[in-house]
Symmetry: C2
Subunit: 459 residues, 2 copies
C-alpha cells in the first residue's frame, strides 16, 4: 500500500541515483514497508536500494524480504557486507533463507559466519525439513529458579538485546532442562523482591524439536500463545518458535491444501512468480491422470452404445447426471478434508460421518431428482425430442440423479478418510478424483436404471 | 490429547461426585487443557465440572471454551457467579461470547455487568460484525511521552494486571491520540533513566476500528506483530487486537473460502456439530442452482440430437471432453482465487493472468488432446464401435479437448476476477460454476468441431 503510494517518486530517486535522499526517505520507515517497496522493484533496482540502507536496517529488512529478493540482494552484496548481514539475522529467518538455496551456495555462505553462528546455522539445518527445528531460533532468555524478579529484569537488561522476543522468559535447571515458562506480564506486575519460584505454576506447554511444523499451528491455536519453547528429546530447552512464523506457515499450508484439493500439485512460489512451464507441469500431472481415468467413461458408454442408438434421448441427460454427482461429491470431499485438517474429524469417526452423509445424500438426491423429473415432464409438452414416454424417461433420469448424488456424496466423504487410512494425504486431488470416479460409476447407474425402467417401451 | 489420556479417570471422579479430587486434579492444568477436557464431556457434566473450578481459573477457562460450551455453563451458573465471570472475562472474548447469543439473552447478561464493563461491552457490540472493533479489547497500557523507562515500568507494575498483553506499550498524547508504540523488549533492555522520547521512532502500524477483520490478518502477517493497536477515525487509541484471535480468524476464513469454492455456503459450526438439516440446506442452494444451469446441457445436446443419432460414437466421448474442461477450469479458478485472497493478484493484473493462462491452457490442451487422439486411434484397432473413420473421430475429439481445456482454463481464471470486479466474493461457488459454464459451452465446441470435421464422412 505504502509502496504503491510513493512508487513513482522512489523510482525517480533511484533513476537519478539520489542515494542520500533515498536513505533519508527510508529512515523513518518500518522494515516491513521498506521490504515491500524493494520487492516491488526490478531485480537490479532491488540490489541498489538494499545497498544504501544503514547496516542495522539492512539486516532487519532482509528478514522481511521474500526468498527471491533475498537471493538477488545477497548476490549483489560484497563478501564483507553479506557476512555482516548473515551473522546478524535472526537464526530462524536465516534458516529459511538458506534452505531455499542450492547446497553449494549454502556451504559458501556458511563460511561467512562466525564460528558461533555457523554452529547454530548448521545445527538448525540439520533438523528435517518442515520440522519445528527449522522454524526455531535459539535466541531466548533463560533464567534460574532461585532468582528474584529484580535479578531477572537486570539480567534481561544486560542480555536481552539478542533475543528474538522477550514476551516469555524460560526457567531452566543447571542442565538446561526446561522447568517452567513465565510470561513477561507476570514478571512486570510482580513486586521486585518476589522470588521467581513464587510466580511459577510448573505448568508449561512446549514443542518438540522433531515435531512436524504443521502440528505447531494447532498448539499455538489451542493455547493462544505468541511464542512457544522448543525442547529436545531430553527436555532441554533448545529454542523458541514465534507466532509470526506460524501465521505464515498457516497461510502456506492452507494454500497447498486448496491447490491439492483442486488437483494442482502444491506450487513452491506464489502464482504470479511460478515459472510458466512449472505451472503447466504441476497442473498437467493430475489432469493427465484424470483424463486417462475418464477414458473409462467412453468404455462404459461403449457398452451401452446399442441403448443410446435406440433412444438418443438418453444421451441428452448424461452431462446433467454426471455433473450432479461430481458437484455433490466435491462438496462432501471438501467439507471432510477441511474438518480433518482442523482436527474435527479423525478416521475413527468414519461411521458417524457416513451416517450424516447418507442422510445428506438422500435429501439432496431426492431434491435434485424431483427437479429433474418435473423439468423433463414439463418440457415434453413443448418438444417431441423426449419421445412417447416422457414420464418414464423422467423417472429414469430422476432415479439416476438420486443414485448418483447419493453415491457422489458417499464417495466424496469416504475417500479422504480412506486416503488418510492408507497413510496418504487426503487433500491430494480429492475433488477431481471423486468427480472422475463418480462419472464412471454414475454412467453405469444411469444406464442400468434406463435398462430396468425403459425395457419394452423406449428400449 | 491430555483430555483423552485421563478421560476415563475424570469421568469416574465426576460420576462419583468426587469434587475435591477433581478440583485438585485441575489445579495444575492450563486453562486451555481444562477447557478441552470440559468440551469433550456431555452437556450436564460440562456444567458440573465448570462449577467446581476456583473463580480465577473459571474465568480463564471460560475464555477458552467454544461458543456451545460457553452457553451451556453460563445457563447452569447462578446469577452472581455469571456476573463475576462476565465482569472478569477479557473484553474481546466476552464480545465473541455475546455475539453468538440471541438479542434477549444479551440484554439480560449486560444487566449483570458493572456500569463500567457494561459500557465497554456495549460499545464493542456496536461495531459492525466482522470488523476490527469486534476483535479488540480496550485493556492496554498507554503511557506519556515525557516519562522515563523507570516511570513506565513502575506504572506497569501498578496498572498492568488488567491488560490483556504487555508485549507492546502505547504512547499517547493528552487527548489519547496514538503517537507511537514501544515493544516491551526495547523498554526492558534500555537503561532505567532513558526517556521514552529517546526510544521512539514515530513509526507505528495501527488498525482502524472499522477495518474489516480479514484485513487485519494481512497487516499482522506483513509486520510480524503479536499485537496491534486500534485507532478510531480521529487517531485516538481505543483498543488492541492480539494475534491469538488472528490465528483463529485465519483458520475460520480459509475454511469458509474452501467451502465456498466447492459450492457449499459457509457453515457456521464445525462440520460434525452442524445440524443435519442445515448441512443439507447449505449444500442444496448451490447444487440446485448448478443443476438448473446444467439443464442447458440437455438443451444444447437436444440441438445436436440429429448428429448423435447419425453417429452414436460422438456421444461416447462427451463425459471425457466436458470433465477435462471442468478439471482444468477448477484448477485455474482455485489458483487465482487463492492468489487473490493472499493479495498476490489484484484486478489490475487481469491481462498478465490471462496471458499466463492462455499459455497454460494451450499447453495442457495440446497434451490432453494428443493423448485423446492416440487413445481413439489405437483403440479403433480392437473395436468396431468407432466406425470407419477413427482418425477423423480422433481428430474431432482432440480438437474439442484442446478447445475445451483452453476455454476452461480461461473461464476459470477470469471468472474470479470478474466476480471481484462486480463487487462479489470471488470464492463463491467458483469451481462448480466454472464447470457448469464449461460443460455447456464445451458441448457446443465439441459438436461444432464434429460438424466441421465429420460432415460428408461420418455425419
Amino acid at each position: 500500500m505504502l509502496g504503491n503510494l510513493i512508487g513513482p517518486e522512489l523510482k525517480e530517486l533511484i533513476a537519478t541515483r539520489n542515494f542520500t535522499a533515498l536513505r533519508e526517505a527510508f529512515a523513518d520507515w518500518s522494515a516491513a514497508d521498506v521490504a515491500e517497496c524493494i520487492t516491488d522493484l526490478a531485480d537490479d533496482e532491488q540490489a541498489i536500494l538494499f545497498r544504501i540502507l544503514p547496516h542495522a536496517q539492512a539486516t532487519e529488512v532482509m528478514e522481511y524480504l521474500d526468498a527471491d529478493a533475498q537471493q538477488v540482494v545477497l548476490k549483489a552484496m560484497g563478501t564483507a557486507e553479506a557476512a555482516r548481514v548473515l551473522n546478524d539475522m535472526s537464526a530462524d529467518d536465516r534458516t529459511a533463507l538458506l534452505e531455499e538455496l542450492p547446497g553449494a551456495a549454502v556451504v559458501q555462505l556458511l563460511q561467512l559466519l562466525s564460528p558461533e553462528e555457523k554452529a547454530i546455522a548448521q545445527s538448525l539445518l540439520n533438523y528435517p525439513e518442515d520440522s519445528v527445528g527449522r522454524l526455531m531460533t535459539p535466541d531466548f532468555i533463560g533464567v534460574r529458579d532461585g532468582w528474584t524478579v529484580q535479578h531477572v529484569l537486570d539480567y534481561i537488561r544486560e542480555h536481552g538485546h539478542r533475543s528474538e522476543t522477550l514476551h516469555v522468559i524460560y526457567i531452566t535447571d543447571e542442565r538446561g532442562i526446561l522447568i517452567d515458562d513465565l510470561r513477561i506480564a507476570e514478571l512486570l506486575v510482580a513486586p521486585l523482591q518476589t522470588a521467581v519460584t513464587e510466580l511459577r505454576d510448573s505448568n508449561f506447554v512446549a514443542l518438540r524439536v522433531t515435531d512436524a511444523a504443521g502440528q505447531a499451528i494447532a498448539v499455538f491455536r489451542k493455547y493462544d500463545r505468541s511464542v512457544l519453547p522448543v525442547i529436545d528429546s531430553e527436555g532441554k530447552l533448545v529454542g523458541i518458535v514465534t507466532v509470526d512464523d506460524i501465521l505464515d506457515l498457516q497461510e502456506e499450508q492452507t494454500t497447498e491444501e486448496m491447490q491439492k484439493i483442486s488437483g494442482v500439485e502444491a506450487l513452491e512460489e506464489p502464482y504470479m512468480e511460478a515459472p510458466l512451464l512449472e505451472l503447466v507441469r504441476k497442473r498437467a500431472v493430475w489432469l493427465v491422470v484424470l483424463f486417462i481415468g475418464q477414458m473409462l467413461t467412453a468404455t462404459v458408454m461403449g457398452i451401452f452404445e446399442g441403448e443410446i442408438a435406440k433412444a438418443v434421448v438418453l444421451a441428452l441427460f448424461i452431462p446433467l447426471i454426471i455433473s450432479s454427482g461430481g458437484n455433490s461429491g466435491s462438496q462432501a470431499a471438501t467439507l471432510v478434508i477441511r474438518a480433518m485438517a482442523l482436527g474435527e474429524i479423525t478416521i475413527a469417526d468414519w461411521w458417524r460421518v457416513m451416517r450424516r452423509e447418507i442422510f445428506c445424500g438422500l435429501m439432496l438426491g431426492v431434491l435434485l431428482g424431483t427437479i429433474g423429473v418435473v423439468r423433463i415432464v414439463v418440457w415434453s409438452n413443448f418438444t417431441t425430442g423426449y419421445g412417447q414416454h416422457p414420464w418414464l424417461v423422467g423417472f429414469t433420469v430422476g432415479t439416476a440423479v438420486l443414485g448418483v448424488v447419493l453415491w457422489g456424496t458417499l464417495a466424496g466423504s469416504m475417500l479422504p478418510l480412506i486416503l488418510r487410512r492408507c497413510g496418504l494425504d487426503p487433500a491430494t486431488s480429492s475433488a477431481p478424483f471423486v468427480a472422475t470416479l463418480v462419472d464412471v460409476t454414475g454412467l453405469m447407474i444411469y444406464f442400468t436404471a434406463a435398462v430396468l425402467i425403459l425395457r419394452g417401451t423406449v428400449l
